[in-house]
Structure formats: structure tokens, C-alpha cells
């Protein structure tokens, strides 16, 4: 993400003065926020509540909406409903309803309304709405009503409380932003999924009530979308070679006995596509996924800046890693001094800068642990039972992690800042780097080969991991010199555009769709001078991104 330059005028003196005046008057207000024991008690109560709720929450049933959509007016769309699937009522599922009311497609907006209902028996229920997907892609969406509903993560987008003291039914209008190019497809599939949960937790308070009730309750049935169809379309759209398509399918196979991917697993698929562009080939199956599990480290205690740092949890698989550290202040300091010092270690720079550092795991050469890495977590104040100031630092890393030969990982704080040209600059606290030795959870795992990514060319892969820009004369040469009778190549073009492109992100590509080069040539289109580089010049492209690299004189 590129941050915009601050367009606002300087902070007015009146605003600054009002902030200072307000802060200066805090002394006069009741000092009721310094008792950490209260915080501990509250946190403990929440944990107990969450545990109890998880035990009581029961999945009652789920529903899958699947609609095939094609170009045309609203009437055409409505006529092309292929499937609306709500599981048949079983034990305890009578009285639940989930129906599609209306669906309209207008320009790039798709409107979709539904109604859900639970039995009016005084019971409390939760409706979990999952991330909507079209052709396997997560969609941007807007929704109406139910301001008091909760949201969770990429997977579950909204949880709506029903029943109890609340209404037993709800209706929502969801509006999706749809790529206009999709209208030209022969068929598009929209997938929505919703699960009903029963809970004994009283969620009359605030959203925390039903957030707690939902967390930890795992749906036992996973009906999200048809992976075969979606993966095939996904691979076709990206014009992936057969090997990558097979790699995608291997993940689908590993996803579960039903061969169905959840939206969370779909992000792993994107990681594989990324790895494929790095000339890596996936060698992954369900058995291997289960086999290579690290659940600890040899080194568990350190001293950082005077504080004791304990590794309370460490786990790592091919698909992600996570850790939990406890930072405890040294003895002999006052509560305030200890808190400040422990905070500085847990979130370095947090007290003195707007953007503090955060801890993360790195490979021994300092590169990111995972391909296509995503991270989530934070630090929180959790004093020890005797009152000693202490912070817990916890992060989860998502992405494909090449474990082959990874016998050490480095724990280190880092920060991303932006220079005067808005370019990201990574800062590392190398002095605080800690080397950890991951420990395999099962002895038998060491007997077999531990291999995730098998690079086609190790040297190329190593250079790629070091961030070196590498180029190759790709199939663009074939595109430039293509003649009738040559093998087909996928290019991108708009209906009325003068050029065809090999870079799907080239300029002027709004509404472009993939097509065979023969089709583009027959339509009178010329090769794009930007992304193909003229009639005769072969083009060097970055092997990761596929984007042409300017030649260096």
C-alpha cells in the first residue's frame, strides 16, 4: 500500500491547545484506571467465558448458496439460478430458514438479498456469514443493517446474533463490486456460505459476548465452493502451466477429505501461485503437511535489554508459524519503571514513535520466513500474579514456508517506515536478534525427507530469496514474432483497444480479458509497445512479476 501525502493543513493551534487543556484536566477526574489487578480479573473472566461458550456452541446446520450468473439483464440473471442449497432438516435443525430473496446485476454492482431465521423458542443462535467468493476470488462488498454484529477474520466476515431477546430473523442486502469483464464470461459462480450456531452464552451485553461465543466453535461441515470448477477457472484465468494447475489441485486434495477449500485455504493457493512464479514447484501432500510440525524451540529463555524473555509457544508448519513471548521486567524496579522497560522490549519504540517495531521471525539470512507472507498479532500488558510487570507478545505468520534446510530461525524486531519518496524502508533491531532452533514435534518426522519446495534451479531460487531482480526472455518473444500457425499464447485485450498485452496489469486495461493471440491478431490488434516492447525487440521480464524490466545501457 502506498500512503498518500498528508493533504491536511497544519494542526491548528486551537486544536492543539484544546488537547493540552484536556490532558491537563485529567488530574481532576477520578483516578480509577491504575489498578492492574482489575484488568487481570477481567481478562480471566473473559477467558473463562470464552472457554465455556466454545464448549456449549453447537453447529446446527449450514447452507450454501451457489448461483451461476451470466451477462444480461436482471431477468436473465434471475432465470439462471442453478442451485440454492440448504441442507435438509435433521435432528434439531427444524425451524431454521435461509433463503435468497432477490439478485440483481447492474453494471459493476451485484445486489443480493437474503433472509435467515431461527426457531422462536427462546434459544440463542448465531449466524456466521463467510467471505463471499466469485470464481474463487474474495469480493469487495457492502452490507446493510445489523450494526451490532461482529466480524472476525478473512474467513468469517460477520456473525449475527438471533433469538433470545433479539429478533428471530434478519435480512440483509449485500452489494458486491464485480469486475465488469466477468460479465463477458460464459458462466460465473457466486458462493456464499452461512452457518447457524446454537449458544448458551448471553450476548445481550456487547459484541464481546457473541464474539466469545463464536470463537473456538469449529464448523464440522465445510461446504464452501466447488474446488474443481473454481481451481480450473482460476488456473485458466492466470494461464498457468499444467504443473502449477496440478500444484493448485494438490492443495485442494490436501485440504480435506471432501476436497473443498475454505477461503483461508484459498490464500494458501495464492501463495503457491507466487511460489510457482519463483520457479519453485510444490511437492506437498496431506501426509507431509501433517508430518512436518515444529512445536517448540531448544532455546526458551533470553535476556533482552535487562528484561527476561521467555518463549511460551512456538509452532511452525509448511503453511505458517507463530510464537508467543513473555517479556518480564527485572526485579528491583518500581511498577512504573518496570512497566515502561518491559513495554519497550515488547513493542520497541512504541512510547517514543508513532510506529513502533514489532517482533517477527526471519530466515537465518535475514529474509522473510514465508513466501507471500502475512502477519497478525500484537503485544499486551499481562502482569504476573505477584504484580511484576510483564507483557505478552504474540504473532501469527501466514504463507508458504520452505522448511527444507531451515534448521534455525531468527527472532528479531523490525519496522517499516516510508522515506521522502514514499518508498518503504525496513529497519531491523539486529542487536536484539535471537537465534532459535525449531524442534520437530514427532520423532518419526525426521526419518523421512522434510521437503516443501523443490526448486527447479537452486541457484536461481537462492538469488530469488535474496530479492535480486532476475530477468529472462520469456514467451513474449513468441508473442512478438508470432505468426499464423504458431502455438497459441494467451494475451489480454479490451474489446475496442488497439493493442494486445502480455501484462495483465498494463495501462489502459480496464475491462480487458484473456484471449488467444490468434483471436487478437484477427481482430486487428497490434502488440502493445509498453509491455511487449515493439515489433522485433525481445523483452526481458522479471521472472517473479512477469513485468518487463527496462534495459540498462
Amino acid at each position: 500500500m502506498r500512503r498518500w501525502k498528508d493533504p491536511f493543513p497544519p494542526t491548528p493551534k486551537g486544536f492543539h491547545d484544546r488537547v493540552e487543556q484536556t490532558l491537563g484536566g485529567l488530574e481532576e477526574r477520578k483516578m480509577k484506571h491504575t489498578n492492574h489487578k482489575l484488568t487481570v480479573t477481567l481478562a480471566a473472566a473473559l477467558i473463562i467465558l470464552a472457554t465455556a461458550a466454545a464448549a456449549m456452541a453447537v453447529v446446527l446446520g449450514n447452507a450454501r448458496f451457489k448461483r451461476a450468473l451470466t451477462a444480461g439483464g436482471a431477468d436473465d440473471v434471475a432465470a439462471l439460478v442453478q442451485e440454492v442449497h440448504v441442507p435438509a432438516a435433521g435432528d434439531g435443525t427444524e425451524g431454521f430458514g435461509l433463503s435468497i430473496d432477490e439478485i440483481l446485476w447492474e453494471d459493476d454492482l451485484l445486489y443480493f438479498s437474503y433472509t435467515a431465521s431461527v426457531p422462536e423458542n427462546g434459544g440463542r443462535y448465531l449466524l456466521a456469514l463467510y467471505a463471499p467468493l466469485m470464481n474463487g476470488e474474495a469480493m469487495c462488498f457492502n452490507l446493510t443493517g445489523w450494526e451490532r454484529s461482529a466480524f472476525f477474520d478473512d474467513r468469517v466476515q460477520q456473525v449475527i446474533p438471533l433469538g433470545g431477546t433479539r429478533p428471530a430473523s434478519c435480512g440483509q442486502l449485500l452489494t458486491f463490486a464485480v469486475d465488469p469483464a466477468l460479465r463477458e464470461r460464459a458462466a460465473n459462480a457466486l458462493y456464499l456460505r452461512a452457518d447457524f450456531f446454537r449458544t448458551d452464552t448471553d450476548f445481550t451485553g456487547d459484541v464481546n459476548g457473541f464474539e466469545s461465543a463464536f470463537k473456538g466453535a469449529v464448523p464440522t461441515v465445510c461446504l464452501t465452493f466447488d474446488p474443481t470448477e473454481s481451481l480450473k477457472e482460476y488456473a485458466e484465468r492466470l494461464a498457468l502451466p499444467a504443473a502449477e494447475t496440478a500444484a493448485l489441485q494438490s492443495i485442494a486434495d490436501a485440504a480435506g477429505t471432501d476436497g473443498i477449500l475454505t477461503p483461508g485455504e484459498l490464500s494458501d493457493v495464492r501463495g503457491i501461485e507466487y511460489a510457482a512464479r519463483r520457479e519453485a514447484r510444490m511437492v506437498m501432500d496431506a501426509a507431509m503437511l501433517q508430518q512436518t510440525v515444529y512445536d517448540g524451540v531448544e532455546e526458551t529463555e533470553f535476556e533482552v535489554n535487562g528484561c527476561k524473555v521467555s518463549v511460551e509457544d512456538f509452532h511452525m508448519t509448511h503453511l505458517g508459524a507463530g510464537f508467543r513471548l513473555r517479556v518480564t521486567a527485572p526485579d528491583g524496579l518500581s511498577e512504573a519503571e518496570g512497566t515502561r522497560l518491559a513495554c519497550e522490549v515488547a513493542s520497541p519504540g512504541e512510547n517514543s514513535r508513532q510506529d513502533g517495531y514489532q517482533w517477527s521471525l526471519f530466515r537465518p539470512d535475514g529474509s522473510e520466513l514465508a513466501l507471500d507472507q502475512g502477519m497478525e498479532g500484537g503485544a499486551g500488558f499481562q502482569p504476573l500474579p505477584d504484580g511484576t510487570p510483564s507483557y505478552v507478545v504474540s504473532y501469527e505468520i501466514d504463507g508458504i514456508i520452505p522448511l527444507d534446510g531451515l534448521d534455525k530461525v531468527v527472532l528479531m524486531p523490525y519496522n517499516i517506515r516510508y522515506d521522502d519518496h514514499d518508498r518503504p524502508v525496513f529497519d531491523y533491531l539486529e542487536d536484539w536478534a535471537i537465534e532459535l532452533t525449531p524442534v520437530l514435534s514427532r520423532a518419526e518426522a525426521t526419518a523421512g525427507p522434510v521437503q516443501t519446495l523443490s526448486p527447479k534451479d537452486q541457484a536461481t531460487f537462492d538469488r530469488a530469496m535474496n530479492g535480486e531482480v532476475m530477468t529472462r526472455l520469456e514467451r513474449r518473444v513468441a508473442v512478438v514474432n508470432w505468426q499464423e500457425g504458431d502455438p497459441g499464447v494467451t494475451v489480454y485485450a479490451t474489446k475496442r483497444g488497439a493493442f494486445y498485452h502480455v501484462d495483465s496489469a498494463c495501462s489502459g486495461m480496464s475491462g480487458a480479458h484473456p484471449q488467444d493471440i490468434e483471436e487478437a491478431v484477427q481482430a486487428g490488434k497490434q502488440p502493445c509497445p509498453d509491455c511487449i516492447g515493439g515489433q522485433n525487440a525481445p523483452v526481458e521480464v522479471d521472472i517473479f512479476t512477469g513485468i518487463p524490466v527496462p534495459s540498462v545501457e
Binding site: G14, V19, L26, H33, Q354
Partner: protein
């Protein structure tokens, strides 16, 4: 959290608070009132902050709620023009004007993401909406912003 920590962390994000308030309220005097109310409310409710690491996003959330309350209480009135005398302004005026012209929800979402630098997930947490909705608002906001700026530039 100690009072000194509270004060320190508020001061560290004062500029950010101003931008968020200014995004939601057109009048400077309302921004001042809103931030004062938000700070007092945050101080009173400090024991509901579960993780200090999220202090800033938590405070911004309170400020946004406060701004909404102000907005409901006193919807923006058309500004009175003092003849043809332009008001002295600083900052990137065309962008700010275009941003200000957007609907409120899109405006604050764009501000938090592109100016404050919060990730989509963080904006979702601040605004208490799903991530998909944040992406939606960013997309629609960007499109409208682009149209607005192009229209303005084409004007003779």
C-alpha cells in the same frame, strides 16, 4: 495504563486525531469539541482497553463515534461565503476538497488507510465493519475521488 503514559500516547497521535476529526467534521470548532469529548471518554473508559498495543486504534474508534454524535446533533450547514475573497488554506487543497466531497463512510475509510497508513484489517477493526466492506469503500472511494479530480482539472 498510567496517566503519564496516557498523556504521552495521546500527544504522540495528536496529528492523527486532528486528521480523523477533520475528515468527519467540516468545522474546526467541532473538531476541538469532539477530540475533547473523546479524550475524556477514553480516560474514563480506560479499563475497557484490553491490549495497550491497540491504544491508538481504540482512541480513534472513540473519536469517530464522538464525531458521529456531533454530526447527528448538528448536521453540516452550508458555509457562508464572504464575497469572492478566497480563504487562505494550506496543504494539498484539491485532494482535500475532493476527499471532503466524498460520502462520510468512504471519506474516513480512505483517510485511515491511505493517509494514516492503517492496514485493511486495522481499518476494519477501527470502524467495526468486515474487511470486505473496507475494500469496497476503498474501491468506490478511489473511483469517485478520481472522477472528482479529473472533473475539476478539466474545468476551465
Amino acid at each position: 495504563m498510567l496517566q503519564t503514559d496516557f498523556i504521552q500516547r495521546v500527544r504522540a497521535c495528536e496529528r492523527r486525531l486532528y486528521r480523523v476529526a477533520r475528515t468527519m467534521l467540516p468545522q474546526e470548532c467541532d473538531c476541538e469539541d469532539a477530540v475533547q469529548e473523546a479524550l475524556l471518554r477514553a480516560w474514563d473508559k480506560l479499563d475497557t482497553l484490553r491490549q495497550e498495543a491497540y491504544f491508538e486504534t481504540w482512541l480513534i474508534r472513540i473519536l469517530i463515534n464522538q464525531c458521529k454524535t456531533f454530526y447527528r446533533r448538528r448536521p453540516p450547514e452550508p458555509a457562508e461565503l464572504a464575497g469572492d475573497i478566497p480563504q487562505p488554506r494550506q496543504g494539498d487543497t484539491p485532494l482535500l476538497d475532493a476527499l471532503t466531497a466524498l460520502p462520510g463512510k468512504q471519506r474516513v475509510t480512505l483517510e485511515l488507510h491511505y493517509i494514516e497508513g492503517y492496514s485493511v484489517a486495522e481499518v476494519a477493526r477501527i470502524l467495526r465493519v468486515p474487511e470486505g466492506t473496507v475494500k469496497w469503500r476503498l474501491k468506490r472511494g478511489r473511483d469517485q475521488l478520481k472522477e472528482s479530480i479529473i472533473r475539476e482539472e478539466a474545468r476551465p
